[in-house]
């Protein structure tokens, strides 16, 4: 029992409470392969052989096409070399473990852990190298933010998210441009931190490779908090949708790049005849007779029914340019998704829950618990203000999502290889 006859309850409680400002719990359902499956290893060996052959051919005469392919395969060859090295080291250590010398065994046991970690890492590197890069990964991107159905609370949070990404880009030093920012600003209604009720916003991150960085951000972002408009202190849940679309720099046009939109093969190609343009036309004679300021423009891609409307700029010409770019991006994304869907159905084995399309809820921002949880990689962070400031914590969340995505891609490649091997085995029978 306590020596003191009575101790204040609150003091006892405060002694018991441990203040943790930065707390990260990893509760991932993630399953990175510990050992490399033979199918993948086989593939790596094959590609490395091709790489060596190409190198030999290149020494005699230079061919830019071959050089490009060799450069691509170089990554794999390097990773395989590292892997083999780690594997031989491990083999030697294991041989040492069997030796009679007790001192040697001790030394080997000390080294074993480090070498195993090295092997793990090199096998992961190899799988990453084998995973095909996302075709849009090197491009800049457009972040489209739109509140889900419901009241102003969702709109306020959409503005919070918009600011978060803007600040994140500013912290990281990425160039951004606000393409569209539509808010209904009734003066009586602003959120706690001066957010406005956002209806739609598009932010362009002009950094090359931004698509690869922000790819994991696409999806439904859920918020749980007591809104500024709530009088009875109830927690509300609302959702904000974020789309990540590939963009192209304005002076794109090299025939090598993915973003060559004059090429009918490209995902970005749109036949102008398939697009219906609607403008606000002034009644009457037009021209010098009227002086309209309506510059809104709406494009409809007839075969898919995608519409884009733009009224941000005072110039119809500029609105039209932006609308076309947005339409191209959306269409390219849709085509890509359709193709991935097709591939997935062909594979027909892995449940591709990681297919990030529009519907899935991917992240929760819990204000009362000061928590931001990503539901895919299972990362919990407890520094919500820093996340919303676009600080390091957000960077960590995004990084872990990227790792998770890469692991899922590896799984997909694995499944592909196994399916191919199975098909080959069937044929030989």
């Amino acid at each position: 029992m306590l020596a003191a006859p009575w101790v204040c309850q609150r003091c006892v409680r405060s002694l018991g409470r441990i203040r943790v400002s930065q707390f990260i719990r990893r509760a991932s359902t993630d399953s990175a392969p510990r050992t490399l499956p033979p199918a993948l290893l086989e593939r790596a060996r094959r590609l490395t052989a091709e790489h060596d052959q190409l190198r030999a051919a290149l020494e005699n005469d230079f061919d830019p096409k071959k050089a490009k392919r060799a450069g691509e395969l170089g990554r794999i060859a390097e990773a395989l070399k590292q892997f083999e090295k780690a594997k031989t080291a491990l083999g030697e250590l294991q041989a040492l473990l069997e030796s009679d010398d007790a001192e040697m065994r001790e030394l080997a046991r000390d080294d074993l852990e480090a070498t195993e970690a090295q092997l793990d890492e090199s096998s992961r590197n190899l799988s990453v190298a084998l995973t095909p890069k996302h075709p849009f990964a090197d491009m800049p991107c457009l972040l489209e933010i739109r509140p889900g159905p419901g009241g102003t609370e969702g709109r306020f949070f959409a503005d919070t998210l918009f600011k978060m990404y803007k600040l994140y880009c500013a912290n990281k030093g990425y160039r951004t441009r606000v393409v569209q920012y539509e808010a209904s600003d009734s003066d009586c209604q602003t959120g706690d931190e001066g957010e406005v009720a956002l209806q739609e916003a598009v932010l362009e991150v002009q950094e090359p490779g931004a698509y690869g960085l922000f790819r994991g951000e696409a999806g439904m972002h859920r918020v749980q908090r007591v809104p500024a408009t709530e009088t009875k202190g109830r927690t509300h849940t609302s959702a904000v949708a974020v789309w990540v679309l590939p963009s192209f720099s304005e002076n794109a046009g090299s025939s090598e790049s993915e973003a060559d939109w004059d090429n009918p093969e490209s995902d970005f190609y749109i036949d102008p005849a398939e697009v219906r343009t609607e403008t606000m036309r002034a009644r009457g004679a037009g021209g010098q007779h009227v002086n309209k300021t309506e510059s809104a423009i709406r494009l409809t891609h007839v075969p898919t029914g995608i519409t884009v409307s733009m009224q941000d700029s005072r110039s119809q010409h500029r609105n039209r340019d932006m609308a076309w770019r947005l339409l191209r991006s959306r269409l390219a994304q849709q085509r890509r998704e359709a193709r991935e869907e097709q591939v997935r159905q062909l594979r027909n084995s892995v449940l591709a829950t990681h297919q990030i399309t529009r519907g899935d809820k991917i992240r929760t921002y819990q204000y009362q618990q000061d928590r931001c949880t990503d539901h895919r990689c299972g990362l919990d962070t407890h520094n919500l203000p820093d996340v919303l400031r676009g600080g390091e914590t957000l960077d960590r969340v995004m990084e872990s999502v990227r790792t998770w995505l890469v692991n899922k891609d590896i799984e997909a490649v694995l499944a592909d290889e196994e399916a191919a091997a199975a098909a080959a085995a069937k044929q030989t029978k």
Binding site: S184, D185, S186, D187, P272, T277, R281, A282, G284, A285, G286, G287, Q288, H289, V290, N291, K292, T293, E294, S295, A296, Q311, S313, R314, S315, Q316, H317, R318
Partner: protein, 374 residues
């Protein structure tokens, strides 16, 4: 104009802002009210001033609410990639003008073989928006840089002054993108009456132009050579509204705030003699004059803005009759009518005028008549 229901004003106040009901009577609907308010706020935010922002917003909103065109309230209008300054007394550039100007620029840039030099003349230039946008677009799209001479002519001294100001602004913008290339180009704006017979002499002999007009030293330095002899493009956006249509069909903002000089052709004795042809109406005088100037300067292409399909067809008919009467002077082989959006393409629309098939391009209302020697 139909009366707006009071509920709309309430909704504007509730959904948009307390400023919105002031703008609503001129904007007529909630979306464009919200947009205009946003543009006013953006303008205030982008132009720093010691006066508090909210006060300036209120000031501009009030001005706009009285019916002053937004372009005069804010003092500028985006035109293509340029930002054209606008001031009361000079016509505001229209989006239709923007469309055909960009179309013309892409036509000139697509010429094969590429031209070794270009010269452009714009009559009734106003803010100078057409020649400046042409220059800007051509410098960006031509396969290789060529020297370009550009001249703009306007009767109104305010307009010429404003056009020169716009030239300075466009130059600052160009020098950041096109660099030294812009040095090979010469741009100048002259104040002159296009009905005055001395215009042609002035264009051929710029020394005289400097002495007779109130050209500043800076502008004089930009007149190193006369207009290139082979004129490539002649554009004109003249006043084309009849006094009757001005009173009846023009928007209130246009009628009350934009210069009548730029909208309604004044009856002129000299012009009346030129357009004695029965195919033209009194308010088509500028087109007859422009064709006469084209006879002297022999441009490869010419574009005239018109106020509708009727006027376009009148001009075409006048041109065709004139060519038949005096075949030596009519050097244009093709004549086309362009609608508001000429870039929308040729949908195979043809019209028979005077027994000749005339191509009608694009979508919208008849907006321009295009002539070319090709």
């Amino acid at each position: 104009m139909p009366r707006l229901p009071p509920s709309l004003f309430w909704r504007a106040r509730k959904d948009i802002s307390p400023f919105a009901p002031v703008l609503l009577p001129v904007c007529r609907d909630l979306t464009s009210t919200a947009n205009e308010l946003r543009w006013i706020r953006e303008h205030v935010r982008d132009t720093p001033s010691p006066v508090p922002d909210q006060l300036r917003v209120w000031d501009l909103v009030e001005k706009r609410g009285k019916g002053v065109p937004l372009q005069y309230v804010l003092g500028n209008q985006p035109f293509g990639d340029l930002d054209i300054r606008c001031r009361p007394g000079v016509l505001i550039p229209r989006p239709e003008t923007e469309s055909y100007t960009l179309q013309l620029a892409s036509l000139l840039a697509r010429d094969r073989p590429p031209p070794s030099s270009l010269s452009i003349l714009d009559l009734c230039t106003g803010t100078g928006c057409i020649p400046l946008l042409l220059l800007h677009a051509l410098l960006r799209t031509l396969p290789r840089p060529v020297p370009i001479t550009v001249r703009g002519v306007d009767i109104c001294p305010h307009a010429v002054q404003l056009a020169r100001e716009n030239l300075r602004r466009a130059r600052a913008r160009l020098s950041s993108t096109a660099g030294d290339l812009e040095g090979a180009c010469s741009v100048a704006f002259l104040q002159h009456d296009i009905f005055d017979p001395s215009l042609l002499r002035l264009l051929a002999n710029p020394e005289e132009a400097i002495t007779t007009t109130t050209t500043t030293a800076a502008a004089a330095a930009t007149l190193p050579q006369p207009l290139n002899p082979g004129l490539d493009l002649l554009t004109i956006n003249p006043p084309y509204i009849s006094p009757r249509a001005f009173a009846r069909s023009t928007a209130r903002a246009v009628r009350n705030h934009e210069p009548r000089l730029a909208l309604v052709p004044e009856p002129l004795a000299a012009a009346a003699a030129e357009s004695s042809d029965s195919t033209l109406e009194p308010h088509d005088v500028f087109y007859a004059r422009a064709l006469a100037i084209a006879d002297a300067l022999r441009p490869k292409r010419m574009l005239m803005e018109v106020g509708g399909l009727d006027q376009a067809l009148r001009v075409v008919r006048f041109f065709l009759r004139r060519r038949r009467r005096r075949p030596a002077e009519g050097l244009f082989k093709t004549v086309e009518v362009w609608r508001d959006e000429p870039a929308a393409g040729d949908r195979g629309e043809r019209m028979a005028v005077e027994g000749t098939e005339v191509t009608v391009r694009g979508e919208g209302l008849g907006r321009a008549v295009y002539f070319s020697v090709f």
